[in-house]
């Protein structure tokens, strides 16, 4: 058995101590090292972007005629090189492509759009309204603006909120598994 060899040091400690340590280790860098924690945060968020695409179903017509799945970033790109790592992954049988959009004109060709801080979210949302485009943003009132998924840090952990009405309007079906993980779901009966 490999159990003994692979057992991390922490496992030898009582559970309560372990929990405390884990809390310290997770929270301390975020407080002390803001930049690094920010990088780590967006690394998680970039992974979330990819995972969102896996738990959301696009209308058949949207992905059928294409080979690519376009993950677009509007506005400021907080992910950096992290996001490019997703390039080439498969989403619903289409190859994921990362696009950093300079103008709104191309937005309706995206399947997922992250809308950065400096972007006029309302314009974008307007453009993709009733279009099968999953919209994601860190903006605090994004859900209220009509966005579909909004990142939210809860106890330094990346969590998210979902707007079911917006998703329904866009023609997207969101997996119940994803819904169960959301900190809040609006528009759900």
């Amino acid at each position: 058995m490999t159990t003994a060899n692979d057992m991390p040091l922490l496992h030898g400690l009582p559970r309560i101590v372990r929990c405390l340590l884990a809390t310290l280790l997770l929270s301390a860098p975020a407080l002390a090292l803001a930049d690094e924690s920010q990088i780590s945060e967006y690394r998680v968020k970039s992974a979330f972007l990819y995972n969102f695409s896996r738990f959301v179903t696009w209308p058949d017509a949207t992905l059928q005629d294409r080979t690519e799945f376009s993950l677009c970033v509007m506005g400021t790109d907080p992910f950096g090189a992290q996001l490019d790592k997703l390039t080439g992954k498969t989403v619903h049988n289409n190859t994921l492509v990362v696009r950093r959009l300079k103008s709104l004109a191309m937005v309706d060709d995206c399947q997922l759009v992250y809308i950065g801080e400096d972007t006029t979210r309302a314009d974008v949302l307007l453009l993709v309204r009733e279009q099968p485009v999953l919209t994601v943003s860190d903006a605090a009132d994004f859900i209220e603006q009509g966005g579909i998924i909004q990142f939210k840090l809860v106890q330094n952990k990346v969590r998210f909120r979902i707007n079911m009405d917006a998703a329904n309007t866009a023609g997207l079906r969101i997996s119940s598994k994803l819904l169960s993980l959301a900190t809040s779901v609006t528009g759900r009966d």
Binding site: S175, K177, S180, L181
Partner: protein, 715 residues
């Protein structure tokens, strides 16, 4: 030690059935339990796999979105799964993401196992590791640990069932086999009981009941058949025994009676038997071995001599003149003499020698293991010397001698018969040589005896071929100078052997019995011749014929004489029969009888050769002689030998006193003639007057009254 062998068969059968059914049930149970355990494990493994799959599916989103709380929620349903002891979810960083431990258990969630995807059975519990996969991407791991209680409970349950079934089947088996074994054991027990009854009570009438057609049925049938057989044998035996006992009792009684009689006669029988045995092999008179025993001893000693290459000798003894002693002094004296001689003979020989009496005065001595023929000669000489000593018997002093023939093994023969024959021949040779002698056998003797055999054959032919002839010697009465009679003398003119003396062929004729026809022929021929002479005018002529001892010892000689007289028609008074003294003495009683008969017929009897024998005068006086003939042996030396003159004078005196006529034979010269004339003997026979001549010549003599001799008859 407790042994299976000693328990009853029905127990064995039960045991057998129980053991077999138990073993088969047990094996079946083990197989079933093993198979069930495998199935159960599979089920457990499947269940765990399903559960892990559920956990994986439910926790994939939580993993992807790093939500341990949500993940923990997916494990929440495990509280309803009693057998799940622990569960855990790991991320791809191998860190525990969420975990569950059954309340009340103190367990630790192990670190992730890199080899993953496997199920491990640990006896008490089962561990399962499996990946969490989302859309083909491995996103984490699930760990599940379940107790085996369900499996164990199931096993215990099954074991209980098996034990119950075993117990039940055991019971059923025992009950059933207890019933079924009767099928086999009952006939056996019946058989056994009957067999025991038969052997203890000896009652063979009982039978075993049973009519099955299986092996046991056959056994019972065979057993009963055997009992039938034994019963019939037993009955037979009993009957036979009763019969036998009865018979034995009867025989015992008979035997007792017979035994009493036998006991009385047994001693007598034994002594008689031994006496008979002795007498069969011994001479009654002398106690010496007889011919039978002698032959035995000769045979065995010859065999011994053959092996050892030694010599042996046979001595054939014949006492000289014993007959005369026996006849003159009586049998009692003769017997005493024989006994005395037997004792002397025994003293002359060695212990190993055998002296046997063959009968009469014949003895045979067997000398085994001698070194040479000289030994035999020495012993023979010793016997002769010892016998010379006179023997006294009842006041008589007797002189006896013996003639001995000797044959030596192996020179004179290699078998008993030949040796005895040759010893016999030698003995006769000894007699011929003058008696009181021992003579070794020589091949010539055998040649002699062969000659005798040849003579015998010739003699038979001689009669048929008229080779026998009668010559006649005149008897002259010197007082009247005339031929008063003739003596017929037999001559044998053999065609190749020439003239053969009667001294040679008469003994052969006597031995072979030819003397009878020859004697008859002589009597008839002579009497016929006499008749012719009578018819020719010489009617006073007498004729004398010699009678041999053989003729005289056979009955019927008087009939022959009578027949010859009748046939020739000669007057018996003109005939005379001459008998030698010894011939007359050999069997005096029959001789007297025959001679009396002949004399009664009118025939004269002359005693031939008077004085040569040893006959006493008392015997002579009993014989019916008319004439005494003085033997030529006395005449020969007369008158020069005073001894012979004395004897002849005594004979003449005796004859004259007995009123017997006298005739002298063998007179060859004038001096003899004068001597007898002076002594008053007028009848003379001899060459002085004439030799024996043929009948025709004698007729001439009668006619001319001249004799061919030196002295002529004076008319």
């Amino acid at each position: 030690m407790w042994s299976l062998r000693n328990i009853p068969i029905r127990r064995k059968l039960t045991l057998l059935v129980v053991v077999i059914s138990s073993v088969s049930l047990l094996l079946a149970s083990i197989a079933y339990i093993t198979s069930d355990r495998i199935n159960t494990q599979q089920t457990v493994s499947d269940n765990l796999g399903t559960m892990a799959a559920i956990i994986a599916a439910n926790s994939s989103a939580a993993l992807l979105f790093s939500d341990p709380v949500a993940a923990q929620e997916t494990l929440g349903f495990l509280t309803s799964q009693q057998h799940i002891q622990a569960a855990a979810i790991y991320g791809m960083d191998e860190m525990e993401f969420a975990s569950y431990i059954k309340p009340g258990l103190k367990l630790e969630i192990p670190a992730i196992h890199l080899q993953a995807e496997n199920i491990l059975f640990w006896g008490d519990y089962v561990e399962l590791f499996t990946y969490i996969v989302y859309e083909g991407e491995q996103i984490g791991f699930v760990y599940l640990r379940s107790d085996m209680e369900a499996v164990h409970e199931r096993l215990i349950w099954f074991l209980g069932i098996v034990a119950l079934i075993l117990l039940a089947s055991l019971l059923v088996t025992v009950v059933l086999s207890a019933q079924l074994q009767h099928i086999i054991t009952d006939p056996l027990l019946r058989l056994s009981a009957i067999a025991r009854q038969v052997s203890t009570e000896k009652n063979y009438a009982v039978r075993v009941i049973g009519d099955g057609k299986d092996e046991l049925g056959n056994l019972i049938t065979d057993f009963n058949t055997m009992l039938d057989e034994i019963q019939s044998r037993d009955n037979e035996l009993r009957e036979n025994r009763l019969k036998l006992e009865e018979r034995v009792a009867r025989r015992t009684r008979e035997l007792e009676i017979a035994n009493e009689q036998l006991a009385l006669s047994k001693e007598q029988a034994e002594s008689v038997a031994s006496r008979m045995e002795y007498h069969a092999h011994h001479d009654a008179l002398t106690g010496l071995p007889n011919r039978i025993l002698l032959n035995d001893r000769i045979t065995s000693e010859l065999a011994h001599a053959r092996r050892q290459q030694t010599n042996a000798a046979l001595l054939f003894l014949d006492l000289d003149r014993f007959k005369i002693i026996n006849d003159s002094l009586g049998h009692a004296i003769g017997d005493q003499l024989l006994r005395a001689i037997s004792r002397r003979l025994n003293k002359c020989v060695r212990d190993e020698d055998t002296v046997a009496r063959l009968g009469g005065d014949e003895f045979m001595i067997l000398l085994p293991r001698i070194s040479g023929s000289a030994d035999a000669g020495r012993i023979a000489k010793k016997i002769i010397e010892r016998l010379v000593d006179p023997i006294s018997c009842n006041g008589h002093v007797l002189h006896i001698t013996t003639s001995i023939g000797i044959s030596i093994y192996p020179y004179d023969g290699t078998d008993a018969e030949t040796l005895i024959k040759h010893a016999d021949i030698s003995m006769y040779r000894a007699k011929e040589l003058g008696r009181n002698k021992a003579v070794y056998y020589t091949a010539e003797m055998n040649a002699g005896s062969r000659k005798q055999l040849a003579m015998e054959t010739s003699l038979r032919k001689a009669l048929e071929k008229n080779q026998l002839k009668l010559f006649y010697q005149p008897k002259v009465d010197i007082s009247r100078n005339m031929i008063i009679g003739v003596e017929a003398l037999l001559r044998w003119q053999h065609p190749t052997m020439g003239f053969i003396s009667p001294l040679e062929f008469i003994p052969v004729a006597e031995d072979t019995g030819l003397i009878v026809p020859i004697g008859e022929w002589v009597l008839h021929t002579a009497f016929r011749q006499l008749k012719q002479w009578h018819n020719a005018g010489y009617g006073s002529l007498t004729l004398a014929v010699n009678l041999s001892s053989a003729q005289l010892s056979r009955p019927g000689v008087e009939e022959v004489v009578e027949q010859a007289l009748r046939e020739s028609g000669v007057d018996a008074g003109m005939t005379e029969l001459e008998v030698t003294e010894n011939v007359a003495m050999e069997n005096i009683d029959s001789a007297i009888l025959i001679l009396e008969k002949l004399k009664h017929m009118g025939v004269s009897i002359a005693m031939d050769d008077f004085g040569t024998g040893y006959s006493s005068l008392s015997y002579l006086s009993r014989l019916p002689f008319d004439t005494v003939k003085i033997d030529r042996s006395f005449v020969h030396k007369i008158p020069d030998s005073t001894e012979d003159v004395t004897i002849v004078e005594a004979i003449i005196a005796m004859a004259q006193s007995l009123k017997l006529s006298l005739i002298v034979e063998g007179v060859e010269n004038a001096r003899q003639l004068n001597f007898f004339r002076q002594h008053g003997v007028n009848l003379v026979q001899g060459y002085l007057f004439s030799k024996p001549v043929e009948a025709s010549e004698l007729l001439k003599m009668l006619e001319s009254q001249t004799l061919p001799g030196t002295v002529n008859l004076v008319k």
